[in-house]
Symmetry: C2
Subunit: 240 residues, 2 copies
């Protein structure tokens, strides 16, 4: 791992108290935690909705369990925002519209589309936040990695989708198209957010006093995320 | 507290292992836990749905928090059913249709109706299960009382509904009618369940080898529940 910017020998840029003295860094982290918190609340709602499409009680309960896990993550982020003197609602507000736009144009029409969407969405978000996490202060990094913990959803979705494709291979073609559309819409909304949130973008492109990366590195990061998506789709039996 | 039937001096009828030797008792408890488990899963879904109607992010998160708490209760019941060798899905299945029928005919048209419905529904269910709990073996009673623990929903609903009535007193008339309708539909579905589930009814009317109550007592119980409902509606500023 390279150390650059203000990073120490061990790759750490210090704890929250040290880093937050820089108002730009503080603003970027509030954005990041706000986006993450609303993402979890939104994931809760989406999974609870998908629970209604479940073909049986066991599947319904499995989705409800994951929705609850997302809510626990939301709670951690909410509590952290409060702890550092931020208003959680205010921090989340800028991210409501981009996420809701994404959900409006990617409404699953059935149980399988819902599973693929949750799987793809969670995976992309996890990849993104893990990339960003290495650039954060120790306290924030620990929290981000903790709420990115697998809620068991991925394996559940993979199992169910594979079963469905085995039973009817035509399902694969439809879901592959769906996966491509999800990735396209997610990238499009991510670009809107980056364009509108200066502090957050500075964190990504290295404008603030943190170990950031330049635009070339941002491009590489998006490439890595897209490649990981492609691999996941193949593993699911869907060529993306 | 009277002791009758197989009840000991302290009002206890013994632990699960002792009581479950009677197949009628065992069947009744499976019914009770199954009804309770599906009730919690259904409460999770209903609260998650209501979260979508929330007027702001803080209210949305409050509802999501309660939905998660209901899911934790579901999990306890699910685990207990598995522990005593029952299939949770099988135990819940007979209660899906009555609860879904209730929800179909009492779909809230807005945020306040949703709050009143959740409050009234939870309160009636809590009153009922607390009445039944005293007739159960020690292990089952402890579990039932634990999952009936307040999830904080009641006070939240009371506060929000009172505020709304203060701002616009006409809201009170509409919600009072709504509360009456909810109580009527709940009693009607409860009667269907009692008519169809022999073991459960035996537990209530004392046909099984447990401390049951006779039909007069069942009538009194329903009266107590209705009276408690009336008091709650008044406390909410709604004459029922």
């Amino acid at each position: 791992m390279e150390t650059q910017g203000g990073a120490g020998q061990d790759g750490s840029i210090g704890d929250w108290a040290t880093c937050a003295a820089d108002p730009g860094y503080r603003a970027a982290v509030l954005d990041l935690l706000g986006a993450l918190a609303y993402g979890e609340l939104s994931a809760f709602e989406r999974l609870a909705d998908d629970a209604k499409l479940a073909p049986g009680l066991a599947d319904k309960a499995a989705l409800a369990r994951m929705a609850s896990a997302e809510f626990q993550h939301y709670q951690l982020l909410h509590d952290r925002l409060t702890e550092i003197g931020a208003d959680p609602t205010e921090a989340m507000t800028p991210f409501v519209e981009p996420l809701e736009s994404f959900h409006r144009v990617t409404r699953p029409s059935d149980w399988l589309e819902g599973l693929v969407k949750a799987y793809v969405g969670d995976s992309i978000a996890t990849d993104f936040y893990r990339e960003v996490a290495v650039r954060l202060d120790d306290d924030t990094r620990e929290l981000v990695l903790r709420v990115m913990d697998d809620t068991g959803h991925a394996q559940f979705a993979v199992d169910k989708v594979r079963q469905a494709i085995e039973q009817d291979p035509r399902v694969g073609g439809r879901l592959a198209l769906w996966g491509r559309r999800l990735m396209g819409e997610a990238l499009s909304q991510a670009q809107h957010v980056v364009a509108e949130r200066d502090a957050l973008s500075n964190l990504l492109v290295g404008g603030a006093e943190v170990r950031g990366f330049d635009l070339v590195e941002v491009g590489k990061m998006f490439n890595r995320i897209t490649e990981a998506h492609t691999k996941r789709m193949s593993a699911l039996g869907l060529s993306s």
